[in-house]
Amino acid sequence: MGEFNSTYLTTSPEPQRDDPPIIEAKNLTKVYKMGETEVHALRGVSLRVWKGEMVSVIGQSGSGKSTLLAILGALDVPTSGSYRLDGREVASLNDDQLAEIRNQRIGFVFQKFNLLPRNTALANVALPLAYAGLSNREANRRAAEVLRLVGLGDRLDHRPNQLSGGQQQRVAIARALVNQPSIILADEPTGNLDSATGKEIMELFRTLHRERGITLIIVTHDPNIAAQSERIIRLKDGLIEYAEEVQTA
């Protein structure tokens, strides 16, 4: 590991496992209509992810990575295709059930952190707990605990603009972690950070993955980051690119 050039990173084979995948997408397409023109962001993506895997999604800009991740995170709906999460067809769920999945099952980490600017780090992390119906006290207690875990125990009352980029992303990761989801989806979580800070964040993800068995899907441009994962999915023009011949090179 470590000497990879991005051109050598290709879609890896699925693991051979007997248990059912927790994520199972078949023929996902996503079409954006912009007036007369249609943008085919996804054109038939099928993939399966098993519990405890760490997967990276790579591909050129515009290849559909963010689109795919948003669908997997139940933040957006595909134009066609099927997406099963824990064996349940997501398209068949109602709004409340989707809210519960976003709240309990999946933690989403955004490239731009997406923290509420007027809230403290503690309040930002406590937000999913509030929506889960916890009392303020309990929510704050657990939020503080998770902030300590990501190394921000001394920054609870800081607002986002009083934190560095890396610290803000740690807050966002803490927010994604706080309801103890089994899946974390991160869309270029280090994209807005310098490489040293990016390394720290990746170290945090790997620790979480290793110690808690969290399933991780990380979208990235960075071949070094992709190389750290167990499996790579490469997208090109809205499709998964299998390039066996490159892999052998």
């Binding site: 948003a70 933040l75 997406n114 007027r118 929506y131 927010r175």
Partner: protein, 417 residues
């Protein structure tokens, strides 16, 4: 997500943009203030008219000649119609009522003579002279400020005594004490024995600008006033019932007596009219009710405009906060939670605005009342109305923006810059 938390979020969001929240609130403040102020003016006018009506006498039943209609209905039928055909009332009518209708507080006929010259030394004024009986001050609620009312003997003897209304006394005597002074009424000399307490203009003439003399004296000195048959004429007969519950009976029996007096056959229409305060009150009530409704609707329109302002700002706010809303949904907020968050925000805005509006409106009403030009009465109902109206405005105009926010997709958290 409980209400308190939503309230906290709402306060926070409102504080994030203080100037904007304040300006938005201003619309509601002005709307509610004008509802409170204008309704209190409407109510004040209503009350002052009512008190004028009740001040003309206690449980008063009035007989006037001719057919007079008081009706509260469509504007064209409203008001007091001029008498159609006139057969005068006489003091014999008054006596008959006194004798044949039992249990009355008093019966007080009045002979009204307008534009009578009343003079004291060089001072001369034209006022209304009222020839009345001893019962009159009791029936009409007239109180004596100075001196005394005349007695029955003075009426019988046709004594030349006079009681002045307060304004008339002022005009004639200025600062001087009128009691015991001699004035000339239609050139006949009278001794002033009393001055009444001011009551203000009412529905049945203004006692303050009148001079009262005994009825028999009036016949001799001011107006002979005989009917074609030679009976002594009176202008109006005031009757005071013992209680307001008794008014319908008195009205009925007075009508009977009057019909007999005037020899009206069955099926024929009355040539007189028995009026009660209730009729005046309900007429005045329907007029002032329209006034209050009118003022209230004007105020309501400004509240509506304030509500549209709220909606406008909330729509801007929803657009501006697309990232926030998307993020909240992305971490598990349900549709109705977002809906509630924004509804609580508009309702908080309109309720705080409503509170300031009530303070401003009450202040304005007190200020208007203090000028003395228009009476104002601040009623609890108008405040409750204003609060519930502003609450309703907040809800009504908040629903649409809140619904918009609730229907945003969580993907907006990523997409929106």
């Amino acid at each position: 997500m409980n209400f308190l938390r939503n309230f906290g979020i709402a306060i926070d969001a409102l504080l994030a943009n203080k100037l904007r929240s304040g300006l938005t609130m201003l619309g509601i403040v002005i709307g509610v203030a004008s509802v409170v102020a204008l309704l209190s003016i409407g109510n004040g006018v209503q009350q002052s008219i009512n008190s004028q009506i009740t001040s003309i006498g206690t449980n008063l039943v009035t007989v006037v000649p001719g057919q007079v209609r008081i009706a509260a209905g469509p504007p064209t039928n409203q008001g007091i119609r001029a008498p159609t055909q006139t057969r005068p009332l006489t003091d014999a009518d008054a006596n008959a009522i006194r004798e044949r209708v039992p249990n009355l507080l008093g019966v007080a006929p009045e002979l009204t003579s307008n534009n009578v010259t009343v003079a004291f030394q060089r001072e001369k004024i034209l006022i209304t002279a009222r020839g009345v009986t001893v019962d009159y001050n009791r029936v009409r609620n007239l109180e004596i400020a100075q001196g005394r009312w005349f007695d029955a003997a003075e009426d019988e003897r046709a004594s030349r005594v006079a009681i002045l209304g307060s304004d008339a006394a002022d005009a004639l005597f200025g600062g001087l004490n009128p009691i015991g002074q001699t004035i000339r009424i239609s050139n006949a000399p009278f001794t002033v024995i009393g001055v009444t307490v001011p009551v203000g203009a009412g529905f049945a003439g203004n006692p303050d600008t009148s001079v009262f003399v005994p009825l028999q004296t009036a016949y001799r000195t001011i107006s002979n006033a005989r009917t074609a048959t030679g009976a002594r004429r009176v202008s109006v007969i005031y009757i005071s019932a013992l209680s307001s519950d008794d008014i319908p009976r008195v009205e009925r029996e007075v009508t009977q007596v009057m019909r007999q007096q005037h020899a009206i056959r069955e099926g024929e229409e009355d040539d007189f009219t028995v009026l009660t305060q209730q009729q005046f009150l309900s007429l005045a009530g329907s007029i002032t009710g329209i006034l209050t409704l009118f003022l209230g609707s004007i105020a309501g329109i400004s509240l509506l405009v304030g509500g549209i302002g709220i909606m406008n700002i909330m729509l801007v706010s929803v657009t501006e906060r697309t990232m926030e809303i998307g993020l909240r949904k992305a971490v598990g907020a349900k549709k109705r939670t977002i809906l509630m968050q924004f509804l609580v925000e508009t309702v908080t805005l309109s309720l705080i605005g409503g509170t300031f509006g009530i303070l401003l409106g009450v202040g304005a009403a007190l200020l208007v009342g203090a000028t003395g030009i228009i009476a104002t009465t601040i009623t609890l109902e108008s405040i409750v109305l204003a609060v519930s109206f502003s609450l309703a405005v907040g809800l009504f105009f908040g629903i649409y923006p809140a619904n918009r926010a609730a229907n945003l997709q969580p993907i907006e958290a990523v997409r929106y810059e």
